[in-house]
């Protein structure tokens, strides 16, 4: 009977793990799927002006923020409004009013606005903000490109040096300890470091460049370790044969060892891309949270996960954040499957 109980406990653990995965995926899907439109992906965030007729705003539905420049009307039931063509559009929970019955709201105070809004039929000019993540997608791609451009050469060459030249000894142990320690440091500390080193000391400010460089440092340990393993997996006899035939060490490395380790290196790159996409703690400090298309790598711009975080924290917009989450999860699933396929294909030669 004790055996049966143990099996029960083990299967329960498995069930809990599965339940967690399914819940997270299902929740993100359910919350986010509605927002997954082509418009969302292909546009940057922008504001749209609409002319609407609104009827029957109740007194408890009006609230104000930042009275000096604009108003927000929070209408929890989402007033139905008629636009110019007499078509019904649903206003979101919060929207910005520019004019009421033709008069700009900047000249009215709270009392006047309430009075105007509570009248039966009101003509409003409203600004609706639409979130589009094209700028975030571009920023993410830029970050991936620049981060890999810096970390791949440094990482791969370091791995080559460690495996092909050093192999053992005190220096090897020291370098390895440094690499392993770097690997365990939480990303927020990298964020602090990047802020100090790249943004302030190097004068790059809050920019994609600053963020990418910091991410590059964060990636170093992973790339070095994975490349090391790929290099170590190449049979020693290949190297010995090459050297015995008269090739120099460099020729052996670049013509024999590396081509055979290419599979593992590509897998390392794909996994690194996955990590870059998921990274937010570093980028939020070094690359900023600006929701605009970056003109260059010296601009500050939010990446996908940073935008999702801001949407959740500052706006409580879980739906849109989940849409971004859905996109990111899908990309990561594709990356994982690709990495697996490449690993299989290259291992056939081993």
């Amino acid at each position: 009977m004790k055996g049966k109980f143990t099996y029960l406990v083990i299967y329960t653990s498995v069930a809990i793990t599965t339940l967690i995965l399914v819940s997270v995926l299902a929740y993100t899907f359910i919350q986010g799927i509605n927002g997954l439109t082509w418009d969302f992906i292909s546009n940057t965030s922008h504001e749209q002006v609409e002319y609407v007729k609104v009827d029957n705003i109740k007194a408890n539905e009006i609230s104000y923020t930042n009275q000096t420049t604009y108003l927000d009307v929070s209408a929890y039931s989402g007033p139905k409004a008629l636009d110019d063509d007499q078509k019904e559009i649903t206003l979101p929970e919060t929207f910005e009013i520019s004019t009421i019955n033709g008069e700009p709201v900047t000249y009215m105070d709270e009392k006047e606005i309430s009075q105007e809004l509570l009248e039966k039929n009101v003509d409003l000019k409203v600004k609706l903000s639409e979130v589009g993540i094209l700028s975030e997608i571009v920023s993410t791609l830029i970050t991936i490109g620049v981060a890999l451009a810096f970390s791949l050469p440094v990482g791969i060459i370091s791995a080559i040096y460690l495996v092909e030249y050093l192999q053992k000894g005190r220096l090897y142990k020291i370098i390895h300890f440094a690499i392993d320690s770097l690997a365990g440091i939480p990303s927020i500390i990298f964020g602090l470091f990047g802020l100090l080193l790249f943004s302030q000391l190097f004068g790059l400010g809050i920019s994609l460049l600053s963020g990418s460089l910091t991410v590059a440092i964060m990636l170093l340990p992973t790339i070095i370790r994975t490349t090391e393993e790929a290099l170590l997996a190449v049979d020693q006899s290949y190297r010995e044969a090459s050297l015995a035939l008269g090739a120099t060490k460099l020729q052996t490395i670049f013509k024999i060892v590396l081509p055979n380790a290419v599979g593992g290196i590509i897998v390392a790159i794909i996994l690194a891309i996955g990590r870059i996409i998921g990274e937010s703690a570093i980028l939020i400090f070094t690359a900023g949270t600006v929701d605009k298309m970056p003109a260059s790598i010296f601009d500050s711009s939010a990446t996908l996960t940073v935008k999702a975080y801001i949407l959740t924290k500052e706006y409580g917009d879980i739906a849109t954040a989940s849409t971004i989450g859905l996109i990111v999860i899908t990309i990561i699933i594709i990356l994982n499957i690709t990495a697996k396929l490449i690993a299989k294909r290259f291992n056939r030669y081993a």
């Binding site: 143990t6 653990s13 793990t17 819940s23 997270v24 392993d180 320690s181 939020i284 975080y309």
Partner: protein, 289 residues
């Protein structure tokens, strides 16, 4: 030809030392910036006061991270208590108990969980876990120590499972065969032979998971509540873990305030370094065996 080889080797060596350089730079930066408020007369808080204080009011020169340290430790402990049994048992199931196809699927599921960005777990926590807790909590809000524990558990589970799977797989097949050959049942073998043999690997998994839990930022900010003081008395109290403190105020802090955030980072950094040294010792001990 020989001189080219020597030059290239030298360049490679320099590039490799970059990694060590970065680690040193991070350490130096953190130490210099982090200790700067305590040198000289910039603040009334002493180092002991900083470490044990239970209130954080930068505008009044009050910097106490004591309650944050307790928050981080309680959250991590709570997550450990839940995640270690589930994680190790699931790992055991994947390697020894589940049929091959199911084991493969579980492995893929765990890899997927490991790859999901932390923000998404934070969104899940805020959207699902926090309202759930708010329903049953004696307090009015759902953001709480419990929420942080649950989110952290979900996040460290894949780490524990993945590394434990590697550790359990590494146990020589002969151990299992010998035990079964002597008449032990499969379950007995699992718990008395295989798991003890995988002990150091599982321990590494646990310590790496602790590191991850202590360092997690984005997800827990959304569910922690982030109060400015007060030691949590119950799991339903709001908390402010160390990482949340840094992340929340970094964007607008300056001067002594900003340096204090670096000091918080320094504490985290030192803690994680110690964990790494422990792992190193465990791995080296196992290699000697």
């Amino acid at each position: 030809m020989k001189s080219l080889e020597k030059k290239v080797e030298f360049i490679f060596k320099l590039i490799t030392i970059l990694s060590v350089l970065f680690l040193m730079l991070i350490t130096i930066f953190l130490i210099v910036r982090g200790l700067s408020p305590f040198i000289g007369d910039k603040t009334n808080t002493s180092i002991i006061g900083f470490l044990t204080g239970s209130s954080w009011q930068p505008s009044q020169d009050v910097y106490g991270i004591g309650y944050m340290i307790i928050s981080t430790i309680s959250a991590t402990l709570g997550a450990m208590i839940i995640a270690i049994p589930i994680g190790v048992l699931t790992a055991l199931a994947i390697v020894e108990v589940l049929p091959k196809k199911l084991a493969k699927m579980m492995n893929m599921a765990v890899e997927l969980l490991a790859g999901i960005p932390s923000v998404i777990y934070g969104i899940f926590g805020l959207g699902l876990i926090v309202p759930l807790i708010a329903k049953y909590s004696p307090q009015v809000q759902g953001q709480s120590l419990l929420a942080v524990i649950l989110v952290l558990t979900i996040m460290i589970l894949p780490t524990i499972i993945a590394i434990s799977v590697t550790a359990i797989k590494a146990v020589p097949q002969s151990y299992k065969e010998a035990s079964l050959g002597l008449g032990a049942t499969a379950m007995y073998t699992n718990f008395k032979v295989i798991l003890p043999a995988a002990k150091s690997g599982i321990l590494t998994a646990i310590i790496l998971a602790i590191g991850r839990a202590v360092g997690e930022t984005m997800a827990i900010i959304l569910v922690a509540g982030n109060v400015a003081g007060g030691i949590p008395n119950s799991v339903f109290d709001q908390v402010r873990p160390l990482t949340a403190n840094i992340a929340l105020e970094m964007s607008y802090a300056s001067g002594v305030h900003q340096s204090m955030l670096f000091t918080t980072g320094l504490i985290l950094f030192v803690f994680i370094l110690c964990l790494n040294i422990i792992i190193y010792k465990i791995i080296n001990r196992q290699k000697e065996l």
